[in-house]
Symmetry: D2
Subunit: 412 residues, 4 copies
């Protein structure tokens, strides 16, 4: 077998990347299997044994949970990132984190190739490959599901199963769900299979993480989330006594409380990077809580006009993340602008969660633009009502002019 | 008493506008009281008697409910209008509808003045006055709460009560809630009083319309909303047999189902037109349902790039509505653009409502950009995976270049 | 030779497309050569003979000048289209016009293929192919300069010359300029060759159309351009007596006067569709004049806030045109929005042109938002100066609040 | 005469502010006259004598030229600031600079009032007053032209002349031009009077600074402007030998060369802050040169996608400056974002100026995203043409889908 060099394979432990591992070796590559622990439910030691048995030269397992929370989730919270008004970007945030791990390993072992099991119609291929090319322009990406010699050989699952049998690749014991799943500590996403029909309801048993709201606790629960300069700083949960400050613990707590109360489910149609419309179902408990709290505090602390521009940039930023552009000049730019806008967002918000709902109960900030005296209907404060007449009449100059012209145009 | 001419007074039946009615007469005006039926809970006949007794030359009661739904709520649904990400504009949509009524009456009776009871720190003064000036540039607005001779005479409630007593203006029997309320068929809003402190939770008994989610039915309920070119077309509710097509009935049905299940509560801080931050609490049951359904259908039907621009315009449109600019060149423009974008939004969405939640269950459109074969992981369709490699590599050209420059800059 | 079917080839008459014609026949295709007359300096009959001699089954020459002006240039004028602040899109506007011609012929003769000579790094390949795929999704595009079997065979000019010699393809007699040229009635563009170095000045003799400003007439010349609803309606030139109304004549007149006075030269760096930065030199005499006049009239007629949104949409529209998206949902949308905004832009502008300069001298509109009485410093009109104090103080509420918070933050 | 306290008056030396000085003293204020040297043509010592004679308690003359260039003009250059596509903001940039001077003096002498001579329909009142309120929320502004007791007393020039005669205020010797003039080292602006009719051409003798292009030198002249991180760094002029680095000298040099060659004239209609359309004529020689050079270098150095967002922010920033919001949260934000984007804009641009034209000749940057090998038509570089086919076909997926839907909709 010729040696074409070393490939770092983003290895999931599943059937597809196991087959790819063997196939890459067949093609003459040495394979280093890379597994990122992003909080998904996975037996990493078992997967390591499996990869080793399939011929991996080395298996690297990296715990990237802390990195994911601090360097990818927190900016998403600061930016109120949401794609097309509904998707919280759970997968899109994880991919550039994995890419960083892949490139670190590639650099360490001197590998010239990266490979992954993402398909040719999806978003993840783009997020993996943009990230790799951006961080390491000389790297070459091997993407079997876009390589005709691979995808013509495996046009369907039967051919893949046959190949697995031939190469002693263990087949999954449990029957595959009729949809595909991606999980990390941010969310679980479900797509494909029966979900491809947007008119087919997602079955209730699909959701693996959050409690069905109908079965969630009968009692609402309160929690208070604090932020410093737009970044989560602490969380304390009613009835739990302690206040948590460690980023990973904050996020875990939010996930735990959110999931318990059925928070964060979404069923939607989105536009993929490649321009295809696709239906996705998501559960994102903790980030949903953090987002509600952060947005509320922001409205208390941030100037109206700054907020408008920050919202414009956040929309772009979410599109950039979705489209795999985490490591891009435009993302660097939007991120630094958002950070600048966030420097006033310090304070805390009390939420109440109940059967899928997240209610904001109250919010406080040591320093904010909210001026109770100024807004009060009972106190005049430094506000002179007659000034508002001038304000209105000057603004109305333009409106009256327009009316004048409209009348002329109608009579011409 | 001199005759300064006729004023059309936006009369609510409450203490403030009753005092204003009397005060206007004192100033030498003849007063026509105008009441708009926008679905609020009000005894219009009683109010009419009261205004007549206080000296109104005429009392006009106009049923504007249908007008409000068809000409103000429906465009808000088409535009997915939301202010600062959370407020559904219930009051802001009603004001230009009332203005139209006021101006109709002013034109009919030949009045040169309009008056209203909105305060000098709020948004409604602006919405009333911009509307009046825009529709009828020659009209003069009398705004007592911005007139020093009025507001210095009535610096607080006691002075107003005293004036009421002196002029036989009936005082409210029930003690006033410690906040102010505005209601119409779109929403009920609560602000001021104890709510002025954003850290004071809204008490549960504040909400007058929607069921407390904790007390809402234990069973989810399904409903299906259909749209034609972005406009609500019908609604059918699980267990109710009939499909409703009349706009007012569609909206009433959505309100009834939403309210029953505790849908549409929001507690937030917003930025008023005059630049003051203010806390508002809202319940908007029906529009919340319609908004969820419409947004979902839109994602199925509308092109990704058109949606981005439509969203930009919708954000502007919501700001325009909030800021009282319904009758402005910019609103005419955004509205017509949004309408153009909506011409593909035809189909239906099934929702499930449960204790405050609105879940999208499924969506269908006779014609849509969603192509099940194209998105399918099991069918290649007309999509050639290898093309995606080219797509990625070409897009990565720019990312690689940036990396090259960054490296150079770091080493300079 | 096998018959793979019929190809419509966008034929320029030059060496590249002549070689491609022969090569396509070698591959087994029948070739229909399509030439579009867009006003470029070309001997179409000579080119027709050449193509026929090289084996074209049919040669179609279409005069698309009128179509180009009315359906492509006029929308660009209405939209004030400009890419990255400087490029007037002369080539980008012509491509979708040619595509329409190509598809018309393909439909008529029942061809399944389109071919063109655009290179793999440029913009035109994208504009041609997006247009073809959009108008005729079933068409297949043959792009030799992106086909390895072609571009590996012809890695440089010598190989192409050799091929030409072997196949009796006439070689260009005049030595090729050290840059490439694209010309149509909108502009002449120059790029590549020695221009690839952005630090190399464009030599003065490069410009083929416009007079060198230093050699242009010593006397300024006046012309008046009229618009109806944003579209050029007539032009009259000082000293020429007649007023021209025919679209093609209007544009020819603007080109003639602009070119005579050295108007419309630009030397710039732009970002290509594929993400590469490229240097381009352009001369665009007539469109430069029309753009100056149109923008000026727009400022007289269009509301300030509508203009802001129109500008946002125009920027997108220019990017869409540059990126080959003329036949796209987003372009249809922006174009219809811009048209809506333009319905008030009726009037005329007098320009003075002199040695490269375009000066606006005066502008008039039968109906406009410009109100001389209102703006006058000598007449109070309906404007009450004291109102401006209220306007300022209310707007300053927010600024004062921010100052309060800044002071608090600095002292915390 | 009662002592109402001390007013700092923005004193120009002209008739209006002289009358205001006297009038303020009549009202019982002590007046400190503040004159800012912003490069305008003014005999400051003479003006000082005049103000002293008219009763000013103190006359402060501050040389703010360096401050104006470094802290106001340079950010405008970095931001490519332009209002409504044509106005370079010469007056709008100067106002916040003067405000800073006014507030410095107010703080030093403990004054509680600021006064100015700006009119009630114009922009400058807003720029002065927003600035004062923002920098010093407790200050009170006395704006005589918005005070009915002043403007009703002086409804026209004759009343002002009469008042001047009564109070020994020297009347202007030279007859006033039939328009008003504002001058500083950035520009001279002309408005009002006969210019109020947008159809009246500006007479050639109106321009006080720039040479009439028809009388400018017959020879073009070259100059090279260098930038560091978006800020002007040096300028060297052909035939002058030295390279200038001092900011004020750089700007003076650009002004001198620009004015000599007739660069920077503009005649336009703009939308004032108060919503009135107004005609303005400007000459801005140096900033026009700097803007051309900076924009050109930016296109060489800045990433395409960053540029798009920077342009969005620059448009906002220009509106903010125009609308008097220099000292606002939104301006602080946009300015810091623009600065971030500019950190790659280092290099130099050679311009050629000739009779009103500014031509870019060439540009260079030590490090830039321009990659000559990548763009070259003769070198393949790391670019694989076949990739572009994939790029196109994937992007065309969406276009084909749209065509499919359009066809369906047309046939329904």
């Amino acid at each position: 077998m010729s040696d074409k060099g070393t490939v770092i394979l983003a290895y999931s432990g599943g059937l597809d990347t196991s087959c790819i591992l063997v196939w890459l070796r067949e093609q003459g590559y040495q394979v280093v299997a890379f597994m990122s622990n992003l909080g998904q439910d996975e037996d990493f030691e078992e997967a390591k044994k499996k990869a080793t048995k399939l011929g991996a030269k080395e298996v690297v397992i990296e715990d990237q949970r802390k990195e994911l929370v601090e360097e990818f989730v927190w900016p998403a919270v600061s930016g109120d990132l949401i794609y097309e008004g509904r998707y919280l970007l759970g997968t899109a945030l994880a991919r550039p984190c994995i890419v960083r791990g892949l490139i670190r390993v590639a650099r360490r072992v001197g590998a010239g190739f990266i490979s992954h099991g993402a398909t040719g119609k999806g978003n993840d291929q783009i997020r993996f490959e943009f990230g790799c090319y951006a961080l390491c322009p000389d790297i070459q990406v091997i993407s079997p599901w876009k390589d005709p010699s691979f995808y013509h050989r495996f046009p369907g699952r039967p051919e893949l199963f046959e190949y697995a049998r031939q190469h002693d690749i263990p087949l999954p014991i449990t029957p595959k769900a009729p949809w595909s799943i991606d999980a990390n500590l941010i969310h679980i996403s479900y797509e494909s299979g029966i979900l491809e029909d947007p008119a087919t309801p997602a079955p209730p048993h699909l959701y693996l993480w959050t409690t069905d709201p109908e079965k969630a606790p009968q009692q609402a629960q309160q929690l208070t989330i604090a932020f410093r300069e737009g970044v989560p700083y602490s969380v304390s949960v009613e009835g739990e006594g302690t206040t948590v400050h460690d980023p990973l613990e904050i996020f875990d707590t939010c996930n735990r409380i959110g999931a318990k109360h059925g928070v964060g489910r979404a069923d939607l149609v989105e536009n993929r990077c490649v321009g295809i419309k696709s239906r996705g179902v998501y559960e994102t408990p903790g980030l949903s809580l953090l987002r509600s709290a952060h947005m509320d505090l922001e409205s208390l602390c941030m100037d109206r006009e700054v907020k408008k521009m920050k919202d414009y940039l956040s929309t772009r930023m979410a599109q950039q993340v979705y489209n795999g552009l985490w490591y891009s000049p435009e993302f660097e730019f939007t991120r630094s602008c958002v950070q600048k806008a966030e420097n006033v967002v310090t304070g805390s918000v009390q939420l109440s969660v109940y059967k899928g709902n997240v209610f904001v109960v109250k919010r406080e900030a040591p320093i904010s633009l909210y001026n109770q005296e100024l807004v009060s209907m009972d106190v005049q404060g430094e506000y002179e009502p007659i000034d508002a007449s001038g304000f209105i009449r000057i603004n109305a100059v333009r409106l009256k002019e327009y009316q004048r012209v409209k009348t002329l145009m109608e009579h011409k």
